[in-house]
């Protein structure tokens, strides 16, 4: 009977919500498979303390996979280490969330294992049938994977986050099997986008701006006061990012971040297909746009046809009043 190996991505020992959704999906898969154990793997040069943290989330075992080459994430070292571990732990499934890291690593891992891979699954039908979006979410495909090992990434918005329980699973430290001579990639630097706001994939409320904001300056002076008044994360349409108003990693859409917050407020966003693909599963969608024909209104629960340069500062004021009432 094969096991479910869950790659638990961490950011310096912290596990974002996206990782907890992979844990949840992995636990669900182990249950559907029957008799399989869900094993979480935490990688790094010294991953033991992070591994202890994830041990509370319902898995049968946590492996702290250690090697100096796993310090900074690089696809070649991680693919080697995880492929060797998958075989050693008799994994039938290897699963992660489709974050930038999951998307980079898992196809390489699948090729190393000679295993088929389904990207960004949104549902687990049974132990070999999964549902995943295609065509920017305009079609949902039921796919069947065939082989002794199956590789999966999950769409973070489609599964709940695993919750910590009372007990903790045993943590087992293992030295990763890596052929250092075969490593050809070198980490140079990471230039973090500085922000005190919640991350897009974690936030309960997202306020996104589009081309209607007209400039990067207006994102700062018009949109950001509302974002911060609401304690929200800030997002953007592809048009706004392409125009250089805001950094790339704020892009919500088919080829950017896929989000599903409780409240998504689209400001000055027309609602192109590829943008809708990234936010249409939000619980409540609200749109502010001066063009009443804008496609965004077709998916919005609440639409306000208005000049955003008037409406947004007014809304920030109203929110402030509400908070103090």
């Amino acid at each position: 009977m094969g096991n479910v190996l869950i790659f638990a991505e961490h950011q310096g020992g912290h596990f974002p919500k996206t990782t907890l959704t992979a844990i949840h999906a992995g636990l669900d898969l182990a249950k559907k498979r029957g008799g399989a154990s869900a094993i979480a793997v935490v990688s790094g040069d010294a991953p033991e303390s992070a591994a202890a943290e994830i041990a509370k989330y319902g898995v049968a075992k946590v492996i702290a996979l250690a090697h100096p080459a796993l310090k900074n994430y690089l696809a070649d070292a991680h693919a080697q280490a995880l492929a060797a571990l998958a075989k050693k732990e008799n994994a039938e499934f290897v699963i992660a969330t489709a974050t930038a890291m999951g998307k980079d690593l898992f196809p390489r891992l699948a090729a190393r294992l000679g295993a088929p891979m389904a990207s960004e699954i949104t549902s687990i039908n049974d132990d070999h049938t999964f549902v995943r979006p295609m065509y920017a979410g305009n079609a949902m495909a039921t796919v069947e994977l065939d082989g002794p090992i199956k590789v999966l990434t999950v769409r973070g918005t489609a599964f709940d986050a695993a919750k910590p329980g009372d007990g903790a699973a045993p943590v087992e430290k293992q030295d990763a099997e890596i052929d250092a001579a075969a490593l050809k990639m070198e980490f140079v630097s990471f230039n973090a986008t500085k922000s005190d706001r919640p991350q897009l994939t974690e936030a309960r409320i997202i306020v996104s701006g589009g081309r209607g904001l007209k400039s990067g300056e207006n994102f700062k002076t018009v949109l950001e006061p509302l974002v911060d008044e609401m304690g929200a994360a800030m997002g953007a349409s592809r048009a706004a990012v392409d125009a250089g108003f805001v950094p790339n990693d704020l892009q919500v859409g088919q080829t950017g971040k896929v989000v599903a917050p409780e409240l998504y407020i689209a400001v000055g966003i027309s609602g192109a297909i590829q943008h809708l693909a990234g936010m249409k599963d939000s619980k409540v969608i609200c749109a502010i746009n001066k063009d009443e024909e804008a496609p965004i209104f077709a998916v919005a629960d609440y639409g306000l046809v208005a000049d955003l340069f008037k409406a947004v500062p007014e809304m920030a004021e109203e929110i402030k009043k509400l908070k103090h009432s």
Partner: protein, 248 residues
């Protein structure tokens, strides 16, 4: 430098996609077929590197005879020659990567540049699989590529910021949206493209395992989100978000 650029034919991104009632696929009548937008960016990047350094840009695709159209478009943009690996059956990412790895081992490019994902299946797999099969380094989601004398450095768009990694060629790079703005094919380019070499290779002649391990059983349309209602003022909007939707 010799650069191999694998490309894919997809429906125009502006096309409204409709799922066939029997779930067998999407309706393809009235669909305009184009080069996948990320693949266009890959062609452009390859051409820019070639223009700086000299070399050859070789396009490759895996598909039916009709896919020649997209190869010709790429040749018209300025690529030097093209290869169509012909197959009439649907292949999964693993099989495509195996084909590309086999052709790469014959062609021996120093660099392979491809799109990060195709906008039809949205899988985002082939570049990474190909890099592993060749034992090459990979730089996915590239927003900047610098080919140095000794090392190539690539800036990548990842969660929370920009990462830079470096490696010695050969290597695989996959393109993100903001790497460049692809050029249009010029009229002289289109004329020249007609005379450029376009070689066909039957997929089953390559001796690689093509049996799909991922099969699409059925497609369904996603549940449609109902349009809600318009509100008259900011005050009303904040009030309904608070009392009705209870999200603030």
């Amino acid at each position: 430098m010799k650069i191999l650029v694998p490309i894919k034919r997809v429906p125009d991104p502006a096309t409204t996609i409709r799922v066939m009632p029997d779930g067998s696929g999407i309706a393809t009548d009235n669909v305009k077929w184009v080069i996948n937008p990320f693949c266009e960016i890959a062609i452009e990047e390859a051409l820019r590197i070639k223009e700086k350094q000299t070399g050859e840009v070789v396009l490759i695709t895996v598909g039916q005879s009709t896919w020649q159209e997209q190869l010709r478009t790429g040749l018209a943009m300025g690529a030097d020659r093209a290869i169509l690996v012909k197959t009439d059956t649907a292949l999964d990412s693993l099989a495509i990567a195996r084909i590309l790895a086999k052709v790469a081992s014959d062609e021996k490019p120093e660099l392979i540049i491809l799109g990060k994902q195709a906008i039809d299946d949205d899988s985002n797999q082939v570049g990474q699989m190909l890099a592993e099969m060749l034992g090459w380094p990979q730089a996915t989601f590239a927003s900047k590529v610098e080919i140095g004398a000794d090392k190539t450095s690539v800036t990548r768009e990842i969660d929370g910021g920009l990462e830079t990694i470096a490696f010695k060629l050969p290597g695989v790079i996959t393109t993100d949206l903001r790497l460049n703005e692809p050029r249009y094919a010029s009229l002289p380019g289109i004329m020249k493209a007609r005379k450029k070499e376009l070689k066909e290779i039957p997929a089953d002649s390559l001796g690689v395992d093509l049996a799909p391990k991922l099969k699409i059983k059925t497609l369904t349309a996603p549940p449609k989100r109902q349009a809600g209602r318009k509100v008259a003022s900011v005050q009303e909007l904040v009030a309904v978000l608070h009392t009705e939707a209870k999200v603030i």
